[in-house]
Amino acid sequence: MSRKPAVAPRASIGGGGGGVPGALAISSDDMCPVCKTIRYLNKDMEFLINPECYHPMCSNCVNRLFNDGPNQCPYAGCHQTLRRKGFRSAFFGDLTVEREVDIRRRVAAVFNQVEDDFETLGDYNDYLQQVEDLTFDLVFSGADEGRRRKAEANLQQWEAEHKADIERNKKAGREADETARRRLAAEREAARQRRLEAAREAEEERLERVRSNEEALDQLAKGDGAAKVQLKRRGQQGRPVAAPAPEADGAAEVTGAAGRLSIRGLKEKKRAPESTGPYDPFAGYDFHPDRYKLRDAFASDWLDGFARDPKHSTGGYDVREYYARAMFDAFSGMGVFIGDEKETGSLDMSAREVADFGAGMAAEQSGPVVAPSIRMEVDDVFA
């Protein structure tokens, strides 16, 4: 060892590596402390460490120094004898962490008891505390060589005394890992089966739909009356939970029921009814007036003028919309009795809504009853 790098000797280095300051962390633009090569000159430079002392050096140095058998660590003041075989690249950038992980791995291999081995949880926790104390002594008692030695001795003693136990636990641990792996694999397989099943059912459903469509078309082709059945059936399937229509056609009901039987598991209760049946773009809403009939034209001298006025029609204004609105305004609110709705909650939404709005809007709750759906048609002040 003629040439030793001028690295300041470290008092604590020795044995299993008494403590490696964080300053040894490898960074990308590092320089090999032994041969002073910098990464600029050797792009592929790789740092290796030996768990004996955790001193990093580049792979070239390792080859150069240790190819001919064991040699002393080239760091000044470090008297560890290292072998080529012991070198590896560090997993962690910070070598203190690397070292701690190594130690913990070693301790964990020896103290591999599991909770089942203890009588009470308290005992297990005490054991864990003990192991952690020992680990801590091994890892962090850099300056206090005595404590580290003692811990090391404890560890070796325990290992020697409980060889059989350790071996047994190791085996049990491996078995547990194996079962966990198998369980995961089984779960994956089950999920795959579920998906296959779902795909198959979707396909069946599609075929069913195609078939029923064809049937409906046949029916339509046969006669006029079938059209009504068709419309009714479609409406039924679209509704999320439709009460059985009292006057429903027998055939329509059967198909409806068959479409609903495809519920698979209770967990999907929420989505199953939605996914069956064709998509209803209106989502079950219908605003066709049932108290009056809207005609295409209502005779009115006043309105007819606007209907013909190009100023109105060119921009898309449609007098028919005005008819519709006037009729809507005139008839909405008929047959709505707030009192009843509030008491029975028959209209599940609006009963609550009425109350809400009542609180927010109405100035007097006990005053004359105002139907909630009457739109207050005040002349809009904003043109």
Binding site: R88, F91, V101, R104, R105, A108, A180, R188, A191, R192, R195, L196, A198, A199, K267, R271, E274, S275, P278, Y279, P281, F282, A283, Y285, F287, L303, F306, P310, K311, H312, S313, T314, G315, G316, Y317, D318, V319, E321, Y322, R325, F328, S350, R352, E353, A355, D356, F357, G358, A359, G360, M361, A363, E364, Q365, R375, E377, D379, D380, F382, A383
Partner: protein, 410 residues
Amino acid sequence: MSASPLVAYPTDTLKVNSRPTASPLKRPISAAPSSDGTPRPPVQAQPTRPHATMDLAEQMNDDEKRKWVKGKKLGEGTYANVFAAHLRTDPSQKAAIKKIKVQKEYRDGMAPDALREIKHLQELNHPNVVRLISVFSSKDQNLNLVLEYLPLGDLEDLIRNVNTYRYGAADIKAWMGMLCRGVWFCHENFVLHRDIKPNNILIAANGEAKLADFGLARSFSDPAIPMTTNVITRWYRPPELLFGARHYSGAVDVWSVGLVFAELIIRSPFLPGDSEINQIDCICRAIGTPTEENWPGVTKLPGYAVAGETVPVYGKDAYMGRFGAVGADGVDLLMKTLVLDPRKRITAREMLEHKWWRSEPKPTRNEDLPRKTKGGLEKMAADLKRVNPMEEDNRGAKVARKLDFGAMKK
């Protein structure tokens, strides 16, 4: 506390009484209104309540305000701040409070956009229209609108973040379905939205898209009552408004819906004009020039001005190339929403009756739509969602189930 300036307070006589509770806001919550929202009658049992100075309306307002706990600020707009909020009695009931800023021009009254919003939203109750839960005023007569809580952002977010969100024809169909339903509901109730654009379409926690921001809404006009043409964000403004038509109908919203549709497909604005003149130009170039042939009477509109050569209205082939992702039926619907003549444009109801909804693919279910994610998805949901049922679950294969240093090096 909103105190009408017209009310003269007999402050001197009541001062002694009101001292113990310094502010009515610090009163314990015992006075929360009953669950059905019925306001409580003036309570005599609590003599310390300074309610003697408040008229009934103020008292109700106060009760309403007290129902809500305002949380952190969610965002700030030009004319309102939005805060998170929840019910005092049940913190799981979330809401958003839109606090209208006092505007200089409207110091003497309510801001018109706030008024429009309240006026129309209080009447509309539909899953695809944002719900107005309550309204109250806070100090300085600031209006507070309590709106439904919609935590998953807006459609613009989904469209713009091309790398974050991937979606397909089925997803577009689902969103369009919800949008069309919302618009249809408004029109069916004679309300023009007049500001439909992707960032006014908000996504609820369950994936439902909802039409929001009714600041420009109004009801359908009576004949002879002119409406303003200065509505709808420029990119989504229909030609009749650009040409200054003062009488229009729901067709203006349908045009906007069509452009949102196009934007969903190409994931960038379809007609991004940088001025009104340029917007007309964009329409002429991308859709066709409005002429007397395709839109009788258009040249008589006050603002009619088209520059350059007349471009014939494009046919289906031109659209198929760019919007083919939604299939022939989808393109057909898109074209019908982008008809120049508002009289020939499809209506909201007809949109929902279109055959596209019944053709393949079926719209995605709400819970499966792409959305802002908060944390990982549940496993069950994840494996039901996979498009290809045969695909293997390799997602977590490379991640260690637990920290296992033993496996690192032996």
